[in-house]
Point group: C2
Chain length 202, copies 2
């Protein structure tokens, strides 16, 4: 399979963490690309008109995109129901996945708003994004013991990708302060081989 | 169940179309709220720190968010595997869901960029969003016959919500021009009772 990939994309990282957890990482041929909100990449656009990575081209020629969908496809390839459990365990896993992915979306908008040229930035947007990120971290601190006790599903995988991105792109944000349980969970999770093998870099 | 709801949100509409298709619409108590990118809503934030709607509070007190996850939860409540099939039929359904949802995300960013105050708008961002929307519509025109032949899964539901939003918020964009198959599919789909019951309005 071919994966449009970047070492800097946290959504790509989510897929790569999943692939390592599932023992499928060596089945992925990673094609490095650069995508940006304001600058569509022709090679990516030819397969995914949303111009987003990760984009997967499967061995039978299907093009799949959206990081959660790619993770679920890889889970099925590996036999199924490991990262995406069925039954009642499915909802907390997918809810944490939605929280981790939603936090990443906030962080990416926040960073891109920060990087706009002078005069094009909106203080109201910056403040709203900061408040939402803080509220999401506060909720996750409350749930950190439950995350730590849960099996490694797509939920913790998405949270791992989100905290890795905080450490990579928001070094000025002391997100561990006042959130000792979350910090402890991530310190342990970050030691997993799937996390170690996928550390972001410029 | 309680659903934080707005008649204007296409992601809420996706959930409501799904609920009508599944015969569950009368199980949802819709709570009208207003959310905006730059203006967090305290009532929503108390349940969903991402400040997004739809947000669902289930009968057993779980809070679920992210429109796709809520749709999958409703599908399971209704017996399962109708809007989210299992087996090989799952991937085209989820891929169209990703295309419809991704198109909506582009349209919402595009609209909010258009509505920024003078001087805060980025021409590069506006151009990139327009190009991605056009490319997504072009791909869907190629696939319109396959969409029309497929069962009504979460894929067509998401596409229906996206085209409904185009007609609601982008009246200046003649998206049917040059896309006869897509226009014909939507003309038929828009007649479904689930679509008729959920038309957006200000």
């Amino acid at each position: 399979m071919k994966l449009f990939w970047s070492s800097r994309s946290p959504f790509v990282r989510k897929v790569m963490i999943a692939a390592h957890e599932l023992g499928l990482a060596d089945r992925l041929e990673c094609v490095p690309v650069v995508v940006a909100l304001a600058q569509p990449n022709d090679a990516v656009m030819a397969h995914n008109p949303l111009n987003k990575i990760p984009t997967l081209i499967t061995d039978d020629g299907q093009t799949l995109f959206e990081s959660g969908l790619i993770c679920e496809y890889l889970d099925a390839l590996a036999g199924g129901e490991r990262l995406f459990p069925t039954g009642p365990a499915r909802w907390p896993a997918l809810r944490w996945h939605a929280l981790g992915t939603g936090l990443l979306e906030i962080l990416i908008l926040w960073r891109s708003e920060r990087m706009r040229p002078d005069g094009q930035r909106s203080d109201a947007v910056l403040a709203a994004l900061g408040r939402k990120a803080a509220a999401t971290l506060a909720l996750l601190e409350q749930e950190a013991a439950a995350v730590a006790a849960a099996p490694v599903t797509i939920g913790p995988v998405a949270l791992g990708a989100a905290f890795g991105y905080l450490d990579f792109r928001f070094t000025d944000l002391p997100w561990r302060d006042g959130r000792p349980r979350l910090a402890a969970w991530y310190a342990t999770f970050a030691q997993r081989p799937s996390m170690q093998a996928t550390a972001p870099h410029d």
